[in-house]
């Protein structure tokens, strides 16, 4: 039996590595995918373009303008002076927000009334918009605190010019400390997730299309007339793809560490072990799809219907916390979600076995179940 399995593995490896072009296709897409994801997926906001419209034009309003210019979150890209210009800038998406200081700004401050600053935001991209509004509020509030402190000191001076000035006033500062990803780089969060995703898509698709291809071009019949038994065929067909998956894992992890400088704080061995557990799921799903498809087009579409939700409901970019309860329930039986947790834990938090064992158990159970189901169906289809 083992000899026959070995022969299929050999055939499969020769078949997939024979053509330089195909060899290329096994390893290039994962790396390209990682590079595109790594560079493109960035939800951080810096140097957001804003328009500065100062209708007051006093030292006070210019101070506020300086505060916006000094912030690393903003870059003043336009200085409109009419409403039409504002409309135009926003319609063409040339700026993300318009800060408008209304006339009477300095007068209101002086009289102790609340002076208004209008912040007009392009809400098209709601995520960017809420970050922009957050940062704009912080700049304005910072300026307000400064104005207040000055006023206070002035008053104290006016009341008792001779007495020792206690310029200090009660205030509360927030000191923040960020764990695991101190620079708040979204790359550190996304790239370990991409690693998980790439392993799934590559192995699932290769298994599904590889088997269906034999059916479609008729070579499956030829295999069937040999003494190879279905279970042997199945093992022989999946092991090469598992190997490809593991090589891709090493490749992609190296790129993540070397090119993107993602911290790798945990154990590589643990990552490998968890990946093998996860491969059971993705190979099992690929096998399952191959049993329900007759053409490669069908297999491709079915894989899409499996990988897309699995990927989207894994917490990759969109936090599961935000999802409605029904969808959350689906996300919690999604093996990719657990694998994603493990990969991120190992990369960023240096999580060890004691932290990830519940996820590992889930992966093992789920993988065994889907692999068993597919093996059963595979055998039934061939008999």
């Amino acid at each position: 039996m083992w000899e026959r399995i070995r022969e299929i593995i050999r055939k499969e490896l020769i078949q997939s590595l024979r053509e330089p072009r195909l060899r290329f296709m096994l390893f290039l897409p994962p790396i390209l995918q990682l590079l595109i994801f790594g560079f493109a997926v960035n939800l951080d906001l810096e140097h957001s373009k804003i328009a500065w419209m100062d209708l007051d034009n006093t030292p006070e309003s210019r101070d506020l303008g300086a505060a916006f210019r000094a912030s690393r979150y903003f870059e003043v890209a336009a200085l409109p002076d009419h409403e039409e210009q504002v409309q135009d800038l926003m319609d063409h998406s040339r700026v993300q927000a318009v800060i408008r200081v209304l006339p009477g700004f300095a007068r209101d401050i002086e009289r102790g009334r609340t002076a208004g600053v209008q912040v007009l935001i392009d809400g098209t991209n709601s995520n960017t918009a809420s970050l922009v509004s957050n940062y704009a509020n912080l700049v304005v509030a910072g300026y307000a605190a400064q104005v207040q402190a000055e006023q206070q000191i002035q008053r104290l001076m006016a009341r008792s010019p001779t007495a020792p000035v206690s310029g200090s006033v009660a205030q509360v500062n927030a000191r923040s400390r960020v764990w695991f990803n101190p620079d708040l780089r979204s790359r550190n969060y996304f790239i370990p997730g991409v690693v998980a995703n790439i392993i799934m898509t590559v192995t699932l698709m290769l298994t599904a299309l590889g088997i269906v291809r034999e059916k479609e071009i008729g070579t499956m019949e030829q295999l069937m007339v040999t003494p190879i038994r279905p279970i042997e065929l199945m093992i022989g067909k999946t092991i090469p793809f598992a190997l490809v998956g593991l090589i891709d894992l090493v490749l992609v992890t190296s790129v993540a560490i070397l090119v993107f400088h993602i911290p790798f704080r945990g154990s590589a061995l643990l990552l490998l072990a968890c990946s093998i557990l996860f491969l059971m799921t993705s190979l099992g799903a690929g096998l399952f799809i191959s049993t329900v498809s007759n053409t490669q087009q069908q297999a491709m579409m079915s894989s899409f219907f499996f990988t897309m939700p699995a990927f989207m409901l894994s917490g990759f970019t969109f936090p599961i916390r935000n999802m409605p309860p029904a969808i959350k329930a689906i996300a919690y039986v999604n093996p990719v979600y657990y694998f994603m947790e493990i990969v991120r834990g190992i990369f960023l938090k240096g999580a060890g076995l004691q932290a990830v064992w519940p996820q590992m158990i889930f992966l093992a159970v789920f993988g065994a179940a889907i692999l068993g189901l597919s093996a059963w169906r595979f055998q039934k289809r061939l008999d």
Binding site: L22, M25, P29, I36, F39, L43, E46, S48, K49, M90, D91, H92, G112, G116, V119, L120, G123, T124, S126, N127, T128, A129, N134, Y135, A136, A141, G142, A144, A145, Q148, Q151, R155, S166, V169, A170, Q171, V172, N173, A174, S176, V178, L184, R185, N188, Y189, G210, T295, Q297, Q298, M300, M301, F304, M308, M312, F318, P319, R321, N322, M323, E341
Partner: protein
């Protein structure tokens, strides 16, 4: 070029599509699945941040600050531990995202008119959520600090009463006034859906003919490459249009995404984009000997860029300059600008003509390339 022969290829391809009812059903289900996933499940909005507050001071003034956090809809206080380690452990176990620590000398320092520090500990792994959460927490502390100061001021100075801050920002949001994720995700999604249907599905059609050997049969007919390309394209164009209608219909009727611009412009530009993606799929297909290869190429060159580099979820302005330059080569980028412009901003051709022109140019160039490649392959 002969219209009758083109029609015959289209007819043959349509029968292929209709016969394989499962593939057809899935092709039509793609937009529904994508819209449901993105429209219902995916939201980057941050609220109910799970929080622990460790109050080492335990005085009236520290409780006053806690009250501010409790009153904000952005925070959900899960517990009040009495030591630092509990926060530590809870962050490690993903139980909370934010820990607020009020130091033991908090009220004493405030009473003495000095600055008191409040520590915010945050799990930064998800940097986007973390920075938004941090922003909310900072503004809670900041506005509390401002209120505290004005109180002190009135108390000490007795000047003009001022309980509100001296400067305040008045926020106004255009185009998507309630900042709903779905309003920007759903229009952009149409580009991704058309890309999947257009390129990925078509990329298999000619590769299949090569792989199965039926290409030889087609070649022995008087059919010319242009006719083959157009005929194949026409069949999948019909599928694309059906998917487009499903996407627009679901987006507007179910997800209530506002369609503020011209419907006609939307359909016109979508057709242009669809032409481009279909020809691109055929171009890839003509050069691939196997369906697996064609599929891989299509995923890499169409779906991935459309998903990542089109500005559909991930803002292009935040990418490094080189990637931004690459994104100008991605047709989906222009289409996403058009989609968001027409849906949310309600602008017309006067603003979007450059993008529209680019889509038309792209379709023409790719058509030419696809036909040429097929010719080369055949001869």
């Amino acid at each position: 070029m002969n219209l009758r022969r083109t029609g015959a290829v289209m007819h043959k391809e349509m029968r292929h599509i209709l016969r394989d009812s499962r593939s057809l059903a899935m092709a039509l289900a793609v937009p529904i699945l994508m819209l449901l996933l993105f429209g219902l499940a995916l939201s980057l909005d941050v609220d109910h941040i799970p929080t622990f507050i460790y109050d080492a001071d335990r005085t009236a003034s520290s409780r006053d600050l806690i009250e501010q956090f409790r009153g904000s809809k952005y925070f959900q206080i899960l517990g009040y531990p009495d030591n630092y380690d509990a926060i530590d452990k809870a962050i490690d176990r993903n139980q909370i995202l934010l820990g607020v620590v009020i130091p033991p000398d908090y009220s004493r320092r405030i009473g003495a008119g000095k600055a008191a520090d409040v520590q915010l500990l945050i799990d930064g792994s998800d940097s986007n959520t973390a920075s938004i959460a941090l922003g909310y927490a900072q503004s809670v502390v900041q506005s509390y600090s401002l209120a505290l100061r004005s109180q002190g001021q009135n108390h000490k100075g007795g000047g003009p009463s001022q309980t509100s801050p001296p400067v305040d920002s008045l926020l106004r949001v255009w185009y998507n006034s309630r900042l709903e994720s779905k309003n920007y995700v759903v229009p952009g999604l149409i580009a991704v859906i058309l890309m999947i249907i257009g390129s990925v599905l078509t990329s298999l059609t000619i590769a299949r003919e090569w792989e199965m050997g039926t290409m030889e049969q087609l070649l022995s007919t008087p059919l010319r490459p242009t006719e083959l390309v157009l005929g194949k394209m026409a069949a999948y164009f019909v599928v694309g249009i059906v998917d487009l209608s499903i996407s627009i219909g679901c987006g507007v009727l179910i997800f209530q995404v506002p369609l503020r611009g011209s419907f006609l412009l939307l359909v016109f530009t979508s057709c242009l984009f669809l032409f481009g993606t279909l020809f691109w799929g055929i171009y890839l297909s003509a050069g691939s000997k196997t369906q697996l290869e064609a599929y891989q190429m299509a995923m890499l060159s169409s779906f991935l860029p459309a998903f990542m580099l089109s500005g559909f979820v991930y803002a292009i302005e935040s990418m490094p300059p080189v990637i931004q330059a690459v994104s100008y080569l991605v047709p989906a980028r222009y289409f996403v600008v058009i989609l968001k412009g027409v849906f949310l901003k309600g602008v017309g051709l006067d603003v979007l003509w450059i993008e529209t022109l680019f889509l038309a140019g792209y379709a023409a160039v790719v058509f030419f390339l696809a036909t040429r490649r097929l010719k080369q392959k055949i001869t």
